[in-house]
Symmetry: C3
Subunit: 582 residues, 3 copies
């Protein structure tokens, strides 16, 4: 793995470049990421490329032994562009117009801007792409980061068109969304609103659709530039996804085919968070595509202690990236900014450019761990993570105590699996179709098209599916299916008759699995007649709550395989118990 | 009392109706409330009634032995109506436009919508009103609930007109509101603003007037539909007031004459809150009008534990309704929604329709308590509760530590009265005029027209008035009268000379009444020369605060009656002390 | 010192004036402040003066031995003015339009309003200024108080013009602000935005410029009225600055030459806060201009306990004012309002006008302390306080743990200086030029024009400068200078080589100075090679943090003087240690 840093030659005196790059080289840096906010420097206001400085910088980089990832500058359209297109300003979820002077303040549905960004990307590829230091391309920067997507009426019109394509007719949309509730039946596409922030919330089906549309809308934004880059001769085009702790604006499984490398801004602190993030990036076939950590933390936001707050973090972080097979690990950033909103953000080098204890610590970490080899998880086990399900959870009222789908899976399913199996692959439900002996699909409520069929096929093939009792309880539109618990399995299995209860925050199921104490929450399903278990079913563990008693999980056969269903949202000890006793 | 549930046949498969109703019947339900959000199903976009399904449903209901309260659907104008009238959207107190896709998003001053709603109500009455299952009518649903009244400029214009009618001339309004403070003298009606949210707040007189106007504005909204319903042959027309814990948008005393039954959405948890709510609904003459609990809690918002969180709540709740003489107690709702913002809200039956422990517990509660008889409080005692005073407190800076007028009366006056006397009637000040031997009128600051005269008449007739030292200290416009404490009693009585102090939060008067420890707060009035009590006055209890000492209450004669004045905002022990030692 | 109170004759019955004034006189009041919200009463809607009542009131005041400060009423333009000029409404930092019905709801860049206010002020001076009771004039009331400055596009246009005057060309502005970061290079003045509230924040250079512009914009607003007052014959024109705990909208050093007296609304509770506020008001030459405390607290906001919450506060407050040489100490206010947003605010007299314990306590305090003499600090020591630096801190991301520049200086620098030296003068950096033997200039980061030269001159002259290691680390535009720590001192001194670390909240340097335990935070600079100290430098104290060790401060010679640099943000014990061991 190569370690590097972001650098902003366009705001540094040219005379400083060589020394800064040398200082980085001295501690072991060999990659740079540049240009993501440099529109003003790369083009004149009339659109002419002004890139001589960039070429000179690339020469300096090459001389110092650096590879470079160059970025398209669409995250920061200069003021003159918003002057030219007053309707380019993005709109917040509260309906406010985003001003110039910040970043990601453009509407991603603005046709003129998309054309210009594509043209800009093409010019960049042609002007700089032939330079031998260039190794790859990043489109924009943390697209839709900080939740800065646009909620304007133009996006609304694009949404209505997207809905038209998805549903074909309003009758189908009304039926799918069950708009009869609260009399929200639409009779013209134009009536369908942008679900901006409002209390009470908009209907969950509308909000899930908006999330899906927005992912597609941004994918289109990305693809316009990616295609122009490639047409200009660029190789290895990616973007840096925003960390999953912040937001999940995109269905990464759907984006994946369009990326040459998988890029990330990885600011995770906790090892398990970082491992899970990288696991999602690796996907079901680790190594299939290069994995680039395009940003990681060199120092704190607005503070950079004498020593990294956790002295071992740097090494651990690099080791984690290396183990995931990352090709690049790029710090943000090489030298602190002198101006702008991030001027006190930590970096490898301080404002004055001199290396300090931080730089020396980074150098030590690089030496200690950069050469570690990738260690991929075996293919036989898969943890299913669904961006659609994440959105479904986020856009619906909770069933029982609220939880964060990502956190719950990361902490209570991924972590014990990682502990037991070393590591586990992560994929979409479609990746469960074959070749897996163990499939974990907790909280897989949304009946995404083909999901049931896929899981069934895997089971018929002999796989073990571990899931939760809310399995397939929603249709694909975010509505509850009026069926008994687990009846989403249809005729695969004789499922037990269960009563499914929501548990409010603070109500827990106390129990044991294999003699170890475990806890459940959020929901609990118990056999209709308490105390008896359906034939064909094996009870796993036992628990009690509010005077009722029942098992913590059930196991039953499907085809040559078997299903293990957690009847409550188990803690990590509970999931560990299930996995240890398969 | 009959127990029932809300049901939404318009979003259920018709084939499910019979089973759902049978499941309800099996546990003892015999009333249904329907139709409050069903505009889309009841009318086609061109306004034609499409009610065959409703008639078929009413047949099913009747077959299963149910009575039905049907609702007008004005809470949810379908999207096409906001498409037709873009100016129908309501405006929030922050000035934002409420979107389609939620409920109560219409402006209640929109003439076209009011006409259409009246027409709709009349059609409903004619189309469904003759069905033998129909027992009564509810207009809209929780009118202005969640504070969702409208603050638009059209409402502002209606407000200006209402002010014109109230004051006649701007000179009178300016004098009444004392607009000289901060130079707010109006010279045209159009200058009077809608007091939308802003810091610092608008002047209290303006805000109280707005609250009064809004109550009248919504009463007009209600009456337009109620009259159309009655003209269409409907009997027993009501609406479901929103719970007093949430908001007090209406002067219920002023609404009362226009309601055939008094309806409520009663989601109170605490017995005393529920009893107070029902006491206000019963009013000064319990039994005068039917009392309908049109919504009560079948399950938690977004969670429904295995057992009701408080197993005794269901029985207690029913008993409380029964004791208040409620005719109906209707759960929200029979079966969980599959779609929309409330899709995970608890219900009698779960999504899949099967009865669970919850349903069984409700059945048990019904059996145990539904037949309990009404128990009305005797007429001799009255607790005065003023919606105008509530608004005055809400719209003014606090005098001393802030308190909630409703909570203070409920907790510290109603609760001890209930404990001592079994129960106590609640009414407006006008209801104190005659026939009462004991009148409690704490925190009655606002000199509402006729209030002084009424209390005096009661006193002359021999009644005992228990009040607080802030009695009549405000004029009817929400301004402080420049008079000595208690001088609002005018020439009725030789009132003692007092100094009235505001006490900030945390400053309390520690004292005793009849040997029992009691506490006061918010304000304390002490005789001008500390330690001496005016002749003619009896001191009650004693307290100290910040090195000063004085009585907790005073008693003095007025006519054949007497006044007992709490000199501080007593806790419940203090009020109990006063009432026990009358 | 004369003690007085604000009074509102325009909203009192004329018959009450004499008694109210007599009640005030009886406890020792002899000054009144009047008229700041009286536009409606002073002028008819067509602009004619209606001031007979005011003259009669001034007669009454004179008869009762009062001096009067009269105010211009521009804080409360009556509704008819906003009716006439709909564009007069101010805009909040969130972009909302401020309504009528509150105060300070006008735009300070509205040419028509500024003209009218000047005309109004001139008329007032001519109509009332000759009355013998008039002693001085206050313009408006707490200008821009509560952060109620205007963020409208007209202010934005004025800002762009102000920028044009400051920078001359866009190229210079772009270079000064380093707009290359995030591609914010402006190509037309009209592109420069008003930095309204938005996340992420606008660039610090823009925000500091806006703060500076706003101070000048309001100074212009003040001067227009002040000049008109003086042209009308008025003497002693001032305004009442808002307390520094609330906001620092103005560069008071820049305003000072335009004020005949220095006025303040001083609601501080803590003695040190009050002393610091008054120290800033006195400035580097106490006694140079009259100091008027135009508002101080007679009672609590919305509560007025039996006794002042801290019985000694009144006396202490008066003593503090007296020691600062204040000419007036004016309570807010004489008698509680009956209407408006402040109707329950405490006052000397209650609503009914009768004196209570509060009034008697104020009378006692006046007798006990009003005659105390002023006690000015000697000229030799100066504490530098910079409003520009305050804004720089407020508009930038923090370097290390966030702190409030005012609070930090007040608590950790002013307080120990006051304790050691009795008192200390406070001034702008320019006041350090000569005549000082000791200059404290902590956190003086901004390289304001002439700052370096001034400090150097003082040092060459033999002064001791005590500062912090962030000294001159910013340019005057709010950007970080790419120089080594302390290199802002240029060639004055051979400064030690230091590594400057940001410390996040919770990370502290534990150490000692002269054997006493002290603590540092926010940042720490340690010699590049830990453990050795540069020649020519004296180490002061020692500390440790995260396993590193170093001195707490350094001392080195500059010319005939010396610099003592705190290497971390010391607590008050640390600063005391430095000052005790000079």
């Amino acid at each position: 793995m190569k370690i590097g840093a972001s650098y902003y030659p366009e705001v540094m005196h040219e005379s400083q470049w060589a020394q800064d790059l040398k200082n980085g080289k001295d501690i072991g840096l060999s990659v740079l990421r540049c240009g993501e906010f440099a529109w003003s420097a790369l083009f004149s206001p009339d659109g002419k490329p002004t890139m001589d400085w960039a070429r000179r910088f690339l020469d300096t980089a090459q001389t110092n032994g650096y590879e470079v990832v160059w970025c398209t500058p669409s995250a920061t359209p200069p003021p003159y562009l918003l002057d030219r297109w007053p309707d380019l300003h993005a709109t917040t979820s509260e309906g406010l117009t985003m001003p110039v002077g910040i970043r990601r303040h453009y509407c991603p549905s603005h046709a003129g801007y998309l054309d210009l960004c594509a043209e800009t990307a093409g010019t960049l590829a042609r002007e700089l792409g032939t330079h031998p230091a260039i190794r790859g391309w990043q489109v924009d920067n943390e697209l839709a980061g900080d939740g800065f997507t646009c909620w304007c009426d133009r996006c609304g019109a694009a949404f209505q068109k997207w809905l038209d394509q998805r549903y074909g007719t309003l009758d189908k949309l009304n039926a799918a969304w069950q708009t009869g509730v609260w009399s929200q039946v639409y009779t013209r596409w134009e009536q369908i609103p942008v679900p901006r922030s409002f209390k009470p919330a908009h209907t969950p089906a509308l909000k899930l659709a908006w999330r899906r549309f927005k992912s597609d809308c941004w994918l289109n934004f990305f693809r316009r530039q990616a295609e122009a880059l490639r047409a200009g001769g660029a190789k290895c085009v990616t973007t840096n996804f925003y960390n999953m702790t912040w937001d999940l604006p995109f269905d990464r499984w759907k984006w994946r085919p369009h990326l040459d490398a998988i890029g990330i801004s990885n600011y995770h602190e906790a090892p398990v968070e970082s491992a899970f993030e990288l696991g999602v990036l690796q996907g079901p076939q680790p190594g299939e595509k290069p994995l680039w950590v395009l940003e990681q933390k060199a120092g704190q936001q607005a503070s950079q202690n004498l020593l990294p707050d956790d002295p071992a973090r740097l090494e651990r972080h690099i080791a984690c990236c290396a183990q995931a097979g990352a090709e690049y690990g790029i710090y943000w950033h090489l030298r602190q900014h002198a101006a702008g909103c991030e001027m006190e953000h930590g970096a490898v080098l301080r404002h004055d450019g001199r290396p300090t204890r931080i730089a020396r610590a980074i150098g030590t970490a690089i030496k200690g761990s950069a050469a570690k080899a990738a260690k991929f998880a075996p293919a036989e086990r898969l943890l299913v993570f669904s961006f659609n399900q994440f959105w479904a959870n986020e856009t619906r009222p909770p069933m029982g105590a609220a939880y964060d789908y990502r956190v719950e899976i990361e902490k209570n399913w991924f972590a014990p699996a990682q502990q037991l199996f070393g590591n586990i692959r992560i994929g979409n439900f479609g990746d469960a179709a074959s070749g897996r002996s163990l499939i974990l699909a907790p909280f897989f409520q949304l009946n995404e098209p083909g999901a049931g069929k896929t899981f069934r096929a895997a089971l018929e093939g002999g796989a073990t599916l571990v899931t939760t009792v809310d399995f397939l309880r929603l249709d694909d539109e975010n509505n509850v299916r009026r069926i008994a618990p687990l009846a989403g399995m249809g005729d695969w299995a004789k499922v037990p008759e269960l009563e499914l209860y929501q548990l409010k925050a603070g109500t827990t199921v106390q129990g044991e699995i294999a003699g170890q104490p475990v806890t459940g929450g959020t929901f609990w399903a118990i056999p209709e007649v308490s105390g008896t278990t359906p034939a064909l079913c094996r009870e796993i563990g036992s628990g009690h709550c509010e005077g009722c008693a029942g098992p913590m999980a059930l196991e039953f056969k499907v085809g040559r395989g078997r299903v293990i269903v957690a009847l409550t949202a188990l803690d990590s000890a509970g999931v560990q118990g299930l996995l240890q006793n398969l």
